[in-house]
Symmetry: C2
Subunit: 216 residues, 2 copies
DNA sequence: AATTTGACTTTGATGACTCGAAATTGATGA
DNA sequence: TCATCAATTTCGAGTCATCAAAGTCAAATT
């Protein structure tokens, strides 16, 4: 069993360096809010445990075992966030600190039950992909519609805004999660985005609001 | 913020001594599986923190503040158990260790959301009362029907067996959670309990099975 | 009153995690 | 080549929770 401190270090390593990049100890120290001496000590320890490759004075990278452990923490974090928002109705803004705790508290069994309850979701409320049990991320790319090509038609997976007025307004044009929506035009000067509904109708919306529509 | 270790000590103190009884350090040591020296150290510390009254060589009892903290831990534990069983479909037998962890991981906010989601329940899956936000327990007495008086008619609040066959069998006689059931007779010799359904029909059932019917 | 007994307390140590500050290292630029 | 500098490592120390073992106390027994 890994301590929650160790899990935090692995998660930071994964976030900063992914599966294979070397991460400098200074960056880890800043990310976790500890001193660099503390990081050195911990990295040696994690090196001995086989969770990271520790390269003196150069940095560290996750090993296969470290990567798996990190992805499990991330899976628990994202499933927790989605559960809190979709089932318990928490606001997205308040969900992160809760998930920071729950990611260390959920057993494998409980994590799987939550996963099942939510229908094996692919994305968390922020649109970040949720790793599966094996630590893998299904390769589909969810992005805000404003990062897509103009003229395209996309599948709306998630709204990162939770206020009912916004959701209702979109719904009044037939734009709902699970349905389709097109990007007709994005005006970089004015910051106005023109969406096209499934019925071919065009509506205008600000860039910031459009960024809340995650599509694939 | 209390550490989870401190919360475990407070919970043990509450379980062993309630609101006001002195608990000897030996009993605490056995309950928590630590040595008595460890208990002495911790009790002095809790005494300094104002959570317990520490009486050297005699024992300790919860203060008002300690009692409140203990009840909050118990509330989180029992709400977690109920949530795991009723919402996520866990077996009652596997729920306790999960709740031992979650009781230290749920924030006040999250606890209240779970409470609300479950409809402010009064009892956990084992029939133990769930303290409210203020740490108080609503005074109604839930007990197995076999501990009730013969000839009485009671309100079935909970079944502590979760196997569908048993639940269906009871339902086939019109005995369901939320409904009424009477205790016609309890034969101490044979161990056979005779229940009376709402419709006046009599059915026989073993003592152990009858103990799963919690009524008030 | 002296002894025994059992419970409690003290002491010195450990492991996990952290800090701050001093020492070291390796690359860079003069 | 050599001084400098930023990053890393080492070192001494502190907190929390724990243990084992030795010490102390008070009540019960003789």
């Amino acid at each position: 069993m890994l301590t929650s401190t160790v899990e935090d270090y692995l998660k930071a390593l994964q976030r900063l360096g992914g599966r294979s990049d070397l991460v400098s100890f200074g960056r880890i120290a800043v990310a976790l809010g500890v001193t660099s001496g503390t990081v050195t000590t911990m990295m040696k320890h994690l090196g001995d445990s086989g969770l990271v490759d520790y390269l003196p004075r150069r940095g560290a990278r996750l090993t296969e075992a470290g990567q798996l452990a990190a992805m499990k923490v991330i899976r628990r974090h994202r499933l927790a966030e989605l559960f809190l928002v979709d089932v318990l109705g928490m606001e997205m803004s308040e969900v992160h600190p809760e998930a920071e705790i729950l990611e260390h508290a959920l057993s494998d069994r409980l994590t799987d039950l939550i996963d099942q309850y939510l229908g094996h979701p692919a994305y968390d409320p922020h649109g970040s992909p949720i790793p599966d049990r094996s630590g893998a991320i299904r390769e589909t790319s969810l992005k805000p519609i404003i990062e897509r090509a103009e003229g395209g038609r996309y599948h709306l997976i998630r709204l990162t805004r939770t206020d009912q007025a916004f959701i209702d307004w979109l719904a009044s044009f037939g734009i709902t999660v699970g349905g389709d929506v097109g990007l007709a035009k994005r005006d970089l000067i004015t910051g106005i985005v023109t969406l096209e509904t499934a019925g071919g109708r065009r509506i205008q919306i600000g860039e910031a609001a459009a960024a809340a529509l995650l599509v694939e």
